[in-house]
Symmetry: C2
Subunit: 290 residues, 2 copies
């Protein structure tokens, strides 16, 4: 049973009805979930032992990585990824029921910056000139709209936020691109993996590494370690080390189990090359049911 | 003369007193500058011929790339980089002069999301629980505070914003990390380079490329093209192709001139490997005077 293995307190990036909530609810019982307001608060909650696991967004198919998550895991926390959750992201335009008749005259639109960016073209063509206000989450924006019945304002968010806050969806699927998914990490203090029927893929291992030099061939050498072993990288990304412009660390996702001999050999060689390697562990991917 | 070569209309990410304004003013006469509200508007202005050049932020040493700039240049525009500007970023806490005595009881803080993130620790320790409100730019946040003399609110921004809007700086250099710089691109419809005395480095060439397959060795093969020629990469970054999670394009900065024989050979081989390569051109870097 998952609760025996992992405990029953799961932090997630709230509020309730956020995309993270929907993803978390796909894997864990609703009664275990504890909302936190920010990504660092979620991560600190599990690092401090206030909760057993924490679920935070790590990458969106359109907007790319969530820098706060990636940077916090590298610079501030020593945690492991125990599972990856994959959710389809559908953005809808929603207003208070009192305003449903005049929604085309919206005076302001509220949502998370990623959601606003994901609907950039729609907003540009349909609501040019209408102020776009950034909010901490799509659900928080929906809550604000629900509390302002007399204002002709709209939120952009998921159907669960509309349901929870009693808003009316006036335009569905306003995101610019199809194939929009978000990846979430399930974080723990212990290096283990959530194992449950229905994993859609895996195993996958995430490494964070810094190169010994920034010479021309350093990254090439690192990739050679994986390439000759035919270890497939599903992702490589650079992020600032925060020591100066041009200094980066790399996040590398490898489609293999870190316990495999080839992976052990690769990590050993990376060390021998002078790389500093931090493994976030091996994990499986679970799709959020629609 | 720069104006004969490039014209006299320079769009920049405004408003006046933004960090982009400070960087642009370092290279071009102040009377040529035209503020635009958003990064896409700056880019569209030069693409449509409304201005001769456009200056937009592309990367911060702490926060990483500015996704909107990078993605817009890849997906939406066909422009070239004619110069790179490098500015030191110093963030200060500022309030209306009427509120200078009670600034420790600030009720809300306004700034650009990057500036708020750059002062994350300071804000966490000094102003835990105070709402942080995201604004389109640090200067816009300063303007808001200047227009609210009776509210105990603060903005985070540069000294020029404080001067322009008559705000009092109550705490200097509140950013968490030193060595904080931002890179700006000077964009043009034509592939050329701004040449002026005092370039701090260069030449540098930026490529945007997509790989032929996502097989394990594809990126390794691409880097081999540069590595055996000892062409030094100052940066490699992946960004979503927006066709599905796991599909990326790569931005590669090479410390060489695209007219060099080794670079021509590299580009030719990248094509032969099946990569699609878009060159943003070769350019020099100019430091903004402090």
């Amino acid at each position: 049973m998952l609760q025996e293995q992992w405990g029953k307190r799961i932090a997630y990036l709230g509020p309730e009805a956020s995309f993270t909530y929907l993803a978390t609810k796909g894997l864990f019982a609703e009664s275990w979930l504890v909302p936190y307001t920010t990504i660092p608060e979620c991560i600190e909650a599990v690092a401090d032992g206030k909760v057993d696991l924490a679920v935070v967004p790590v990458e969106n198919a359109l907007e790319g990585s969530v820098p706060l998550t990636v940077d916090y895991l590298f610079h501030e926390a020593d945690l492991f990824v125990t599972a990856e959750l994959l959710s389809k992201i559908q953005q809808h335009l929603m207003v208070h029921k009192n305003q449903a008749a005049c929604w085309k005259d919206i005076k302001a639109i509220y949502s998370h910056p990623h959601a606003l960016a994901q609907c950039h073209k729609y907003l540009f063509y349909q609501f040019a000139g209408v102020p776009l206000n950034q909010y901490s989450s799509t659900a928080a924006a929906a809550k604000l709209v629900s509390e302002s019945p007399d204002e002709c304002i709209a939120a952009i968010g998921n159907s669960s936020a509309a349901a929870k806050y009693g808003l009316e969806i006036v335009e569905k699927n306003i995101h610019d691109f199809h194939f929009n998914h978000t990846r979430f990490f399930v974080l723990s203090k212990e290096n283990g993996r959530v194992t449950k029927g229905g994993a859609s893929s895996g195993p996958k291992t995430t490494f964070m590494l810094t190169l010994p030099t920034d010479g021309s061939g350093a990254l090439h050498q690192v990739l050679s370690v994986f390439a000759w072993r035919k270890l497939n990288l599903s992702k490589i990304e650079s992020r600032p080390l925060k020591t100066g412009l041009g200094d980066y660390f790399f996040i590398i996702d490898v489609l293999a189990d870190e316990e495999e001999p080839m992976m052990k050999g690769a990590v050993e060689e990376l060390g021998a090359l002078g790389c500093s390697v931090k493994s976030l562990g091996t994990y499986y991917t679970y799709n959020t049911p629609e």
